[in-house]
């Protein structure tokens, strides 16, 4: 099972992602409703992959990842950002702070699992 940490403030999107990944039977998903919530949850939890929304109230996805990268057990964990179509420069910036890739919103729930597996396969 792939342990996935999902950080997303929108409850509906959390539910859709959960259903989508549950369909494959390959993922164990931990849901976080904010960056602060995520930092609490990872204190004693190491996921195989992290899926973060970019724009959230409070800590943004970028700020959340920067904090996570300060934790030794999370430094090498692949991180995928969910974002509206980011320009090349924005994607480069995200990669500089340790993002493995970007998935555009709205995502296709039928192919989300495959996209994630492909990204962590490359990482």
């Amino acid at each position: 099972m792939i342990k996935l940490l999902h950080v997303e403030d929108d409850a509906d999107i959390r539910e859709i992602a959960q259903m989508s990944l549950d369909m494959t039977g390959e993922f164990e998903v931990v849901q976080c409703e904010s960056g602060e919530d995520a930092l609490r949850q990872v204190q004693d939890y190491t996921p195989d992959v992290m899926l973060l929304d970019m724009m959230m109230p409070g800590m943004t996805g970028r700020q959340t990842l920067e904090k996570m990268r300060e934790m030794p057990h999370l430094q090498e964990v692949p991180a995928i950002f969910m974002t509206a179509r980011a320009q090349q420069s924005e994607q480069d910036e995200l990669r500089e702070i340790g993002a493995s890739d970007v998935i555009s919103k709205p995502f296709d729930p039928m192919s989300l699992a495959d996209q994630i597996k492909q990204i962590i396969g490359k990482a």
Partner: protein, 552 residues
Amino acid sequence: MMSKTIQNIELKSRVALLSGTSMAATWYFIAKNIVTAPYAELAAVLPAIGFAALLPTVVMLRESKRAVRASRQPLSQRLEVLSKHVIVNVVDNKHCLAEVNEEFEKATGYTQEEVLGKPVSMIYFDNHARKDADEIRTGLMQGKTWQGETALRRKDGTLLLTHTTVIPLFNADGSWGGSISARTDMTRVNQLMAEQETVESLDELRDDIWIVDAESERFSYLNRAAMARFGWDIETYKEKSLGDLADGEAVQMIAEACRRLEDTGETLTHFQLTLLGVPFDASIKFLKVANKKNRFLIMLNDISARLEDESRKSEFISMVSHELRSPLTSIKGSMGLLLSKAAGDIPEKALALLEIAHRNADRLVLIINDILDLEKISAGQMEFDLQDVDLSELVEETNRANAMLRQRFALDIRLEGTDRPLHLQTDPNRVIQVLTNFLSNACKFSQPNSRIDIKVDDLGPDIRVAVRDEGPGIPAKDQHKIFERFADLENSDRTAKGGTGLGLSICKAIIEGLGGTIGFESQEGVGTTFFFILPKGHFARDAQETLMRVAS
């Protein structure tokens, strides 16, 4: 002087008349009393008449001749005095140059031999000046002196602007004798006045303007905006140089840019810099003037407001993008899961409705993408990922990626010109976006089993890609708005055919942003060809300027 001469002649003539009359009377008296011959009366009267009439006449003639001789004294003797100060020429009654002085030669570049005897019109600058001369002559012939500006032509063809006084000359018999012109060179005076106007205009500009001596780097001019920024007055800045500015980094950038201009021989450069904490667009022009010191004209345009505006627009675009896409994620996501029966089987009718909803959610996503693309272009924020691209390969890749279109519409799509590599610097994803749009439109508007041709042509410095269909063509009355946003075409069912109404306007913005041109040819009942032409080379600043023009 002339009237004095005439008065002189008149006086002498009157004296002569009195003398003659006296002598006539005396003779008559004497002759009458002495001569006793039969013709005594005649002998007395005739000589008396002679004395009375002839003497004044002789005196008048003599004095007049003397006066005429005096007036005919070579003007060169008089001109000698004026020669040292003014440009002088004499024109005879045949409108030809009769005399010119040394100043005339110096000012016009003509020698005496080249102009004497020639029509004076040869030194007029243009037809306008000739027309003015004709009008002046009319007044002169009426005895009027004329003063004003005249435009002359130097031997080298350049303009010699003069302030001129023209005096008429008349012969002894009162006939027109020509004119004498005395001129001062106004060209330099006008240049100085124009320079003064230029300086006053520069002072009114909001941009900071500097003029810096190329050798010493001292300021020879700062406009009002620049003086205010540094807190200097005219007396102060005349003593300052670039090195006195309290921003070493900015000064170094400017100095290096100036040196590059001197070394490369280029005359103009543009770049951005921050000076004293303010962001500027800087332009530097190298002013090389023969026989004068070289200088740099530096213009600084404060772009802090523009950058702030761009930042606000960027934030807005990001926010709108997120706010629209998040609910769409939920809508599309949940419908997609339902359609895949993640929540169990769905009745047939419900499934059909779900498909309609899902399809339109997809369409909404496309519209949002297109609108945000256009907004990025308008805000000058669309970035291009320039790479070395083989356009032939790109076209083939696009065709393969849209194989479903071919199957869905049962079309015969043929490629031409993609059998050899054609390299250019461009953004491959954006070119694919444009090509896909062309192909999609061609497929949608073609009849089943018809043909679509995609042709790539090497035009030397550019490459042309054209997509031709055998569809109904675009009505002539609609062709002018084909690249406008949401252009509604009559009899076009956009809902049935799909599309957002923004695709071609985005294609136009992308191609122009990449430094190219876009167009189409269409004939009703025959078909339509959409094409774009892209430069092979790196378009760098030209495309940036195009992007700014597209965004405005």
